[in-house]
Subunit: 404 residues, 2 copies
């Protein structure tokens, strides 16, 4: 019974990497190709895993579970990239770009969707989805443009971090409130207090304990295999589990906090090398392709397509407006602020993660989820050429290795 | 629904590593502790994963699938350690020790079990199980004794390789014959021919293609993440899948061949580092603990215990006799041949893998499987002190770092 799973995993990882490679050749972010591959393999086009060979072994169930482990490892590696110092360096413009870049899609975006047939809950949730910019896609694009360490680049990096944290916090609060069956002000206070306590506690405990624990294990030189990486895996799983079980926030939040906690570990390089193998050679491709597998473009009606087009337009406009105004308000010149706004348009994994949480909780219909996937694809496709255009005139000197 | 799985995985990996660490502290092989931990967590003692929190999420099903991926990655890393040159260096004694060390448990062991209530098929299968020595346990013990590169050590290493290959070949033939519903001589010839063709073809194709393919991908410096390790994972999964689907041999055989094929790759170090993280920080602990989870010592009757004791005695005697006589016949002095025989007693992962294949195919009863686990535990516990005793007199100079 394991054979169909082996075949499915070999197929998915191969297709993901080929799609990512092709995407890179076409000067697009790698994540784009992996998503498109999922769309092609999934019910939108080929419907591979609904074939009897795979369906009889319930491969789809296992793929979803492996994909959920993939999101957790992905968010951990994202956390690992976040240095608390980055935020300070980028300063005011990035904080304002991050805050308004979340607020505008959340508030204006939600309002813009209500007249078009979404109810308040779904509109707010889509607002959260539209709020989540992808660190990886913004950074990768700027590395390709050799502008990662320009004032705009640093602002973007910082704003993306603020954006990530805010989007996840808003998502966690929203999810707890909507699905937790919170009754009255007392219940709301308890839910928010528990969340806050957990987040503060997990962050404090994590930043204190985790780097010390990995150092301690590393120094012991035990004869067991992979002591440090095993400990890291256990910590990520435990933080993810406790996040939802203890704190009532999304499991990915816990994994993200574990990542931030280990970002300043003296063993960060080793942790990163090991976890990147675990994540990117196995689990994350399953997650990214799995997203495409869950979207069914054929199931969209003409009306759905219209709403999706509106969703895409709103996602573009609100992020550009919010992040751009934020950067300007934070002190950047108008031209630079405009570039930051454009750079923030790109959505990615985080938006998809948020959307998949929504599907799991019944907040998003399959059609709306497919619309979100198409929105992420559209913003992801558009950002690199838009950034290239905004940064067009002066050819900057080679600043750093373009190899990510 | 993912939460119980996260908790189970965190618990299993923690327990496995703690058990392995304790085992090392007590100067026992690490694998021993990981197995014992599984016995303790499983129905034999605590029965953790039959609790409603885990049972409701069908955690057991997923753990079995993850464990099966674990075996596949484990056998790949075992293959990666096998240098075809090792065999040549160790020469005649190791070949004879390997061949007779498999033949004696297979033939004498089976015969010794038949009068005690096992039917021919089960007795033969237990013979195969008893034939499989563990490379890792033998090697680890000798590294601790600083005798890995003594004549006895090299003979043991070579013999363990011969043993591995023979045991898997015999298992594959047996499994194909017994479960394949082969009818008549024509069917037998077809099954064996198909197996032989696949093994030769996979070995030839693998050793030619795989090292070239990883080199080729490495040189491309593509922007996708983990190109080499992703390719290796895909190859391992594909070889494992094809092994059973195309060749009719066990999936682990394909993974083992993929490992041997990449053992001479110029990127072996990188592949080993990456795959060891994937295997030993995640999948293999799930496999090893899973073995203990599947054994239920409580289910053994008094009669079962008697049979298990006999199985253990037969496993000790036949391996010592076969491998010892083989090494002597191959040209080693009597004292050295005796040491080789003792060193080969240790069973491990391979025997367990074989046994779990037997359970999956209905060849072994749960009681017999539990007996096998206890046999592996007994031989694993006994080998290090036996070897230490056989090598006791002259204190050898420090030959290599005792850190595996």
């Amino acid at each position: 019974m394991i054979l169909p799973l082996l075949a499915a995993l070999a197929l998915i990882i191969t297709a993901a990497k080929l799609g990512g490679w092709l995407s890179g050749v076409l000067r697009q972010p790698v994540v784009l190709g992996e998503l498109l591959v999922g769309l092609v393999l999934g019910p939108s086009v080929l419907g591979v895993f609904t074939q009897p060979y795979f369906a009889a072994a319930h491969v789809d169930t296992t793929l979803i579970e492996l994909g959920e482990l993939g999101v957790i490892f992905l968010m951990f590696t994202a956390g690992l990239e976040v240095q608390v110092d980055d935020l300070r360096k980028a300063g005011r413009p990035s904080i304002w770009a991050g805050v308004l870049g979340v607020a505008a899609p959340l508030i204006l975006g939600s309002l813009a969707l209500i007249p078009f047939g979404y109810d308040l809950e779904a509109a707010l949730f889509l607002g959260i989805v539209m709020a989540a910019t992808s660190v990886s896609i913004s950074a990768q694009t700027l590395i390709e443009l050799r502008r990662l360490r320009s004032p705009e680049g640093l602002t973007l990096l910082g704003a993306a971090v603020v954006d990530d944290v805010l989007a996840i916090a808003v998502l966690s609060a929203f999810t707890a409130l909507v699905t937790g069956g919170v009754g009255g002000l007392g219940g709301l206070a308890w839910t928010l207090g528990r969340m806050g306590l957990f987040l503060v506690g997990a962050f404090a405990l994590g930043t204190w304990l985790l780097p010390r624990a990995v150092d301690w294990v590393e120094e012991r030189q035990w004869a067991i295999s992979q002591p440090v990486l095993s400990l890291v895996v256990v910590m990520v799983l435990t933080f993810a589990w406790a996040s939802e079980f203890v704190g009532g926030v999304a499991a990915i939040t816990g994994a993200f906090i574990a990542g931030i906690a280990l970002a300043r570990s003296s063993l960060k390089g080793k942790i990163e090398r090991g976890m990147h193998v675990l994540a990117y050679a196995f689990f994350v491709p399953v997650f990214l392709v799995g997203i495409g597998l869950q979207a069914d473009a054929r199931a969209l009606s003409a009306e759905d397509y219209g709403l999706t087009a509106w969703l895409i337009a709103v996602a573009f406009a609100t992020k550009l407006l919010g992040a751009g105004l934020g950067a300007r308000f934070g002190g950047l010149p108008a031209r630079s602020a405009w570039r930051v706004g454009l750079g923030m348009i790109s959505r990615g994994e985080v938006g998809l993660i948020v959307a998949s949480v929504g599907v799991a909780n019944g907040l998003l219909t399959p059609a709306a989820f497919t619309g979100v996937v198409l929105m992420v694809l559209a913003t992801t496709i558009a950002t690199p050429p838009l950034l290239r255009w905004a940064f067009r005139e002066p050819q900057p000197p080679p600043e750093e290795n373009a190899h990510a």
